[in-house]
């Protein structure tokens, strides 16, 4: 739901779904203004816990039994309870109970922690202004409309609208570290009309209502309006935006205290809305696992059907149906035919139900959970600068890392460092005007930003300031571009000092302080790709400065040497430099008033207000490539992945980065589809066709690269009713993309990035996609892709928070994919196949035994063996294998990225491999069963002439089974650490010891006597030993031969590197 809301929000921007009216201080508006509608809002209680004490057991059980596997075992268990079945309910009840209990304990503990956290949050003290006094109350008692006082370093208890602050300019500083990881101080503003209320009494006298949108999760969006009622006057309405909204979870800094009014409380705060669970991603392995499970379910049902039918056929003669020695009871004879049939069928189902591996899901989950620690523990992915290593946000996708076919990467901050350095600026002016314009230009750069100055707070800072003779300041901004610019300006002599009382102060070349009144800031956003400020200089002149990407500036420039600047911009972009353009317009008072009016009315339709700008400048910064990015991309290419760069940058810059990062080699033939908005649709069509044609012509397809921009892309992707006859662009585009080794999409909006990912995901082959990015603009792409990786970058932590895995640097992608991904895939593939294999081995002899016991559902193995086979005798070795197996060394995997291709396309879980494992299982089962059968055939194998019974028969088969299955895993283990030795030999030893104890002691329940001394008697006979050895050897022989022959006849790259 969360995703859908977000998407809806992104598409229909600024849509007022509904609004709420908040009465500040719960005061009714003056009569006649508006009808007072009392509204009910939730209290400020945060409930992150899922369960309460009372509903834990039912709710948790319900949640757990919603999983298909658990439900299946529950049904089997119930069937065993209800009807008379061959095996006791314990055999399936105990493992189920074990699985459910383990999960419930884990979830209960997590929920208990959540309860504790909730409690401490809900009970933390809050200061509320009531009747002109500050009253201390508990956080959860807060209501919408309460006026709250927050002191420095306190955390906001709910979403608040800032009314006034202890700073006389009505601003306050806030860090949102706990929300989005950005540690910079952000400035929030009070509405000018309420700024003056600085004491409790004054605040209490405020009479106002706030109209605002209903709560929604986007942290950076807020639309509202405050109506202030003064005595007998028309209410004054002021707009409220995100800059007025203090979010729950953020912390007040550098400000003594503030007054603010609660508008969203409890579960409606943006923080709470953001913590709602994301939709779950499922890995390809899990999908094939489910497919296999269905096959096994079919096998199970058909086995039961076959046996039931054969039972009827066999019992056709009454002597067989009911021989004199085995009469049925009256009750049984009188059973209805249909009833009897169902009963028999269910009994067979229960007998064979173990073929569905009971513990597979638990083992897989444990493997994923424990295995993901190896990623976080990895020292190679630890970044010294950040002081952090990789993070795993979901462990469900570990193996998917080994399956990636398409990598979508963001450029800025991901491929490149996002460390900006001001390189040069370029102005195209006649020398006569030079001086005047230069000043203006520098001022523009000094003023047009949202950089804030971190002031000297500490004694150290002041000292340093004194030393240098000037107050020192640090610039902090959410965008490194701006910091670079302001710092560049400082070098050129124009120092931005501070923002005070809505006036920006600049120290110019001549050490004079210039003051500009800041009238409006129109913040940067990724749709408009520019930001503007309107300032009034000390001389009273209104100026609008606009800064942004060239594509958004040039169309709006009406005078000046646009062409020349453009040429220069492009030239610089080719060199891999990042460019920004600045423009200005001086506004007359009338213009300003008009603009101002529109802005105040609604801060929405801003686009139109920035047109007709007078002049364009060009600033250039250098973008450094992240270390080893090129090497990583090269490795990814060798590993058979297709790397796409999706960036908002312009083509030239992006292409230069691509060359630098070796995404495009010099020999690459590039197709460029650019600026489609100037072309009619059929043009694109012919263009695409041409490309496709050429592509297919050159079969040797050297290397093709494609560059496409956002506009063309949207034209391509847009369903076009007119050219329906021309077929679908989509298909052609996909066809081209498949033939290209590298694709660069530039000028992309964030949503388009996600669209591209979706497009590729939905293409014929359903490739596995990976998206990597660092900024908030990559979040949609990260969530859309099969695997989302966040780079812990400088643009905040939003990407890292929303990703599945977070890594400090792009270069770590190599290790996480080529090494961890490869290992996890190999491990889980073996885990899944092995689980099915060992259960075929386990249950198929029981199936065969039915043919020799008159289809009477006689279990072959003892109850204890049936119960413990999956949960203890054979569980640990495979779990350990799936945690530590390394079929080749880490170094080899790193050195030879092409090994990654060997496991591409889920190659170890395809049907032929699955069939091989199943056949091997059936073969082994046949060997076990008939081996024992011929051994038991009418003879004794003790030296004292005594005969063995059916339980010895079953125990013999079971012993061979446990040994074979464990040794099969040992054969597959390529990496024998001491833990492997310990667990594999240990579990065999455990089986022997358990059997000795189980058969050697009289247990309380006499039903268990059937196994008394059976195991010891078996071991006391020589032929039993000999046949165990023989059967194990025969069972393992085909696999050994296959392995050896495969190595000899068709050695894979993998085996060559061993």
């Amino acid at each position: 739901l969360y995703r859908r809301t977000q998407k809806m929000f992104c598409v229909g921007e600024e849509s007022w779904v509904d609004s709420r009216t908040v009465y500040i201080g719960h005061k009714e508006p003056p009569p006649g203004a508006e009808a007072y509608i009392p509204q009910r809002y939730p209290d400020n209680r945060i409930v992150s816990s899922k369960y309460t004490f009372w509903n834990f057991i039912p709710k948790n059980l319900f949640e757990q039994f919603r999983r298909i596997a658990n439900f299946y075992f529950l049904v089997i268990f119930l069937v065993q309870l209800i009807i008379d079945t061959p095996t006791s309910p314990v055999t399936s009840g105990l493992p189920l109970f074990f699985v459910i209990t383990v999960t419930a304990i884990k979830q209960g503990y997590e929920d208990w922690l959540r309860h504790k956290a909730d409690c401490s949050i809900n009970e933390c003290p809050v200061d509320v202004v009531q009747q002109g006094k500050v009253v201390r109350t508990q956080s959860h008692k807060l209501r919408v409309g309460d006026v709250v006082m927050v002191r420095e370093d306190e955390t906001f208890p709910c979403d608040l609208i800032l009314l006034s602050s202890s700073r006389h300019d009505g601003t306050c500083y806030v860090t949102t570290t706990s929300l989005d990881g950005e540690s910079s101080h952000k400035t929030y503003y009070a509405v000018p009309d309420t700024m003056a209320f600085t004491t409790e009494q004054e605040v209490d006298s405020l009479h106002a209502t706030i109209e605002c949108e209903q709560p929604q999760p986007d942290l950076y969006k807020f639309v509202g309006r405050i109506n202030i009622y003064k005595d007998k006057e028309e209410p004054v309405a002021r707009p409220l935006g995100a800059e007025n909204l203090l979010l729950r979870g953020a912390t007040l800094k550098n400000t003594q205290h503030i007054y603010a009014v609660a508008i969203y409380t409890g579960m409606e705060t943006k923080m709470a809305l953001n913590y709602q669970s994301k939709s779950q991603k499922r890995s390809a392995v899990e999908k094939s696992m489910n497919a296999f499970l269905i096959v096994y379910l079919c096998i199970l049902i058909s086995k039961a059907v076959i046996n039931t039918v054969l039972k009827y056929a066999w019992q056709w003669s009454p002597d067989r149906d009911e021989p004199w020695y085995n009469h049925r009871t009256e009750h049984e004879r009188q059973r209805h035919v249909v009833c009897l049939f169902i009963h028999r069928f269910l009994a067979f189902m229960v007998l064979f139900n173990y073929i569905i591996p009971v513990s597979m899901y638990v083992t897989v989950e444990m493997q994923k959970f424990l295995g993901s620690y190896f990623i976080t523990w990895d020292e190679d992915m630890f970044d010294e600068e950040l002081g952090e290593g990789a993070q795993v946000n979901t462990s469900d996708l570990n193996e998917e890392l080994g399956q990636v076919e398409y990598v979508f990467t963001d450029k800025t901050g991901t491929l490149t460092e996002n460390n900006m350095e001001f390189i040069e600026c370029y102005r195209k002016e006649r020398s006569a005007q030079l001086k005047e314009h230069e000043d203006l230009f520098f001022r523009a750069l000094c003023l047009c930003h949202t950089v804030q100055v971190k002031e000297e707070e500490t004694v150290d800072g002041i000292k340093r300031g004194i030393h240098q003779g000037r107050p020192t300041s640090f610039y902090i901004s959410s965008s490194p571009d701006e910091v670079a610019l302001v710092e560049g300006m400082k070098k050129l002599g124009y120092t931005y000092l501070r923002l005070r009382d809505n006036h920006m102060e600049i120290l110019n070349k001549d050490d004079e302080i210039e003051r500009f009144e800041l009238l409006h800031v129109l913040n940067f956003d990724s749709v408009r790709r520019r930001m503007s400020v309107i300032v009034r200089s000390s001389s009273g002149e209104c100026l609008l400065f606009c800064k942004g990407a060239d594509s958004s500036i040039f169309p709006r420039v009406v005078s000046g040497k646009v062409e020349q600047v453009k040429a220069r911009v492009e030239q610089n972009a080719v060199e891999g430099l990042r460019t920004l353009c600045v423009a200005y317009k001086s506004l007359t008072e009338a213009d300003y008033q008009e603009a101002c009016f529109h802005l105040t009315e609604a801060k929405l339709a801003l686009q139109d207000r920035e047109q007709r700008l007078a002049q364009a400048y060009d600033i250039i910064e250098r973008d450094w490539l992240q270390e080893k990015a090129a090497d990583t991309i090269e490795s990814l290419h060798k590993a058979g992945m297709k790397v796409w760069v999706l960036t908002g940058d312009k083509m030239e810059t992006a292409a230069a980065t691509c060359y630098a990062s070796k995404l495009f080699r010099r020999t690459l033939y590039l197709w460029v589809c650019y600026s489609a908005n100037t072309r009619p649709h059929n043009h694109i069509y012919t263009l695409l066709h041409l490309v496709l044609h050429r592509c297919s012509l050159s079969v040797d397809c050297l290397d093709f690269g494609l560059i496409i921009d956002g506009a063309t892309l949207s034209a391509v992707l847009k369903p076009n009713p007119e050219s329906a006859g021309h077929g679908n662009y989509r298909e052609i585009f996909l066809e081209i993309c498949r033939n290209c080794s590298a694709v660069l999409c530039c000028r992309m909006a964030p949503l388009q990035k996600a669209q591209i990912v979706k497009l590729i995901k939905a293409s014929k082959e359903h490739p596995i996609t990976l998206a990597i990015g660092d900024g908030a603009n990559d979040v949609s792409m990260i969530q859309e892709a099969h695997v989302g990786i966040g780079v812990m970058g400088k643009e905040g932590r939003q990407a890292a928070r929303n990703s599945d895995y977070a890594i400090p640097k792009f270069k770590h992608l190599k290790k996480i994919l080529l090494v961890h991904g490869h290992y996890y895939y190999i491990r889980i593939a073996e885990l899944v196949q092995y689980f099915f294999y060992k259960n075929v081995c386990f249950i198929f002899p029981q199936f065969l035994y039915q043919f020799f016991c008159g289809f009477s559902q006689q279990p072959l193995y003892d109850t204890a063996y049936l119960t413990l086979y999956n949960i203890s005798f054979t569980s640990l070795p495979i779990l350990l294998y799936s945690l530590v197996e390394q079929h080749v060394s880490v170094e080899t995997l790193k050195r030879e990225p092409s090994l990654y291709r060997d496991i591409a396309k889920n190659s170890l879980l395809r049907w032929p491999v699955f069939l091989y494992w199943t056949c091997l299982g059936v073969f082994d089962a046949v060997i076990f069963f008939f081996g024992a059968y011929f051994l038991f055939d009418n003879t004794t194998f003790t030296s004292n002439g005594q005969m063995f019974g059916n339980w010895t028969f079953g125990t013999l088969v079971f012993t061979v089974l446990v040994f074979t299955v464990t040794l099969k895993l040992a054969l597959d283990t390529h990496h024998w650490t001491w833990i492997n030795h310990f667990v594999i030999w240990g579990s065999l030893l455990f089986y022997v010891i358990f059997s000795l104890l189980w058969g050697g002691i009289i247990w309380y329940n006499f039903c268990l006597l059937q196994m008394y001394y059976v195991f010891m008697q078996m071991l006391s006979s020589g032929p039993a030993w000999l046949s165990i050895i023989l059967l194990i050897t025969v069972s393992l022989l085909p696999d050994v031969i296959k392995k050896v022959l495969c190595r000899a006849i068709c050695p894979t790259r993998l085996s060559a590197h061993r």
Partner: protein, 344 residues
């Protein structure tokens, strides 16, 4: 101070640099290469052939004499007894001749075919509590005692509990055999040893008689199984210690066979059977013709590897030679690959 703090923090976040966390544990990495596998196959092959030959030779030296006495064919000596109508206390005798000494100890088995002792409902039809001598289970208490699995042989028409209850005990094999050697026309009985034919643990630990002396008092108020001619406490009139639930014939029967064609140990002949003519007198009680079964007797001697069973020896020989063949095949393949190095 500042930098120190940062360093400390780094140390805190830094993952442990241990061999385990970094997946660098020292490991043995075996490879199934030709150099290892071919000698291994040769060794295994030779060892298996060795074992196989030993088993095969041992098995060849064992003798088994098996005779069918069901009496389906008219010529068969027990034909008259096989008619279910006049079956009561029917006796017949089977003659056979040994041309050389049957070395002792000889084991005397009876065998049944097409008899499904391994049917589930049949197998569970017993009450372990009774069989372990718990007198509480010798009474009838409607739905609990004796165990309901004993149905339909829990209690008789007078609601008296059947002891031992259940189909398994009820259908106990009740043919008896006497073996005579014909010495100059005189029948001389061959002593049959009935001790130790069932598992030691069965008659010492698993099954117990109620500790009531004499034993028959424990059975007051109970009835014998329907098909039994004698009550449980009179199973062996010659040895009082061999009665009740620890009667060895009973215990042999109670250990269910794994497969529908089975043999069960009847007696031991410690000294062996010298060459000569023998006559086996059978009191024929057990009906098998109804379900197409066969009744057999078998004399066999055993070695360290049990009774005569050529399967194991042959299997060892086959697998051993298969290993040798495979090692040769592998050798050829490796040789061929090494001689053509350009092959990819």
């Amino acid at each position: 101070m500042d930098s120190n703090y940062i360093e400390n923090q780094e140390v805190e976040n830094r993952p442990d640099n241990t061999a385990f966390t970094q997946q660098r544990l020292p490991a043995w990495q075996p490879i199934l290469s030709a150099g290892i596998v071919i000698p291994l196959f040769v060794l295994v092959g030779l060892a298996f052939i060795g074992i196989g030959v030993a088993l095969f030779v041992t098995s060849r030296n064992l003798h088994v004499l098996e005779m069918d006495y069901t009496g389906v064919e008219k010529t068969s000596p027990c034909f008259s007894c096989s008619d279910p109508i006049k079956q009561k206390n029917c006796k017949c005798s089977l003659s056979f001749e040994l041309d050389k000494l049957f070395e002792g100890p000889v084991f005397f088995y009876y065998g049944l075919t097409n008899y499904f002792q391994n049917q589930r409902a049949y197998g569970v039809s017993k009450d372990y509590n009774q069989l372990s001598g718990d007198l509480d289970y010798f009474t009838f208490f409607f739905s609990i005692v004796p165990d309901s699995t004993c149905k339909p042989y829990r209690y008789d028409v007078n609601n008296k509990p059947i002891v031992p209850c259940g189909s398994l005990a009820n259908s106990m094999f009740n043919d008896t055999f006497n073996l005579y050697q014909m010495k100059n026309g005189v029948k001389e009985e061959v002593p049959l040893d009935g001790k130790g034919i069932s598992w030691w643990t069965d008659y010492n630990i698993k099954y117990r008689n109620p500790s009531v002396n004499p034993l028959r008092n424990a059975f007051n108020g109970t009835v014998k199984p329907l098909y039994w001619s004698k009550p449980a406490y009179e199973l062996d009139p010659t040895d009082t210690a061999n009665n009740g639930f620890i009667n060895q014939d009973f215990l042999v029967w109670m250990r269910r066979s794994a497969l529908p064609n089975f043999r069960k140990l009847y007696r031991r002949i410690t000294d062996g059977l010298p060459a000569g003519n023998y006559s086996l007198e059978i009191s024929y009680n057990y009906p098998v013709i109804a379900f197409d079964g066969k009744k057999k007797v078998a004399f066999s001697n055993v070695s360290w590897m049990g009774g005569k069973n050529e399967f194991l020896g042959i299997a060892y020989l086959v697998i051993g030679s298969l290993c040798l063949v495979m090692s040769v095949v592998m050798l050829i393949i490796y040789h061929w690959r090494n001689s053509s190095p350009d092959a990819n």
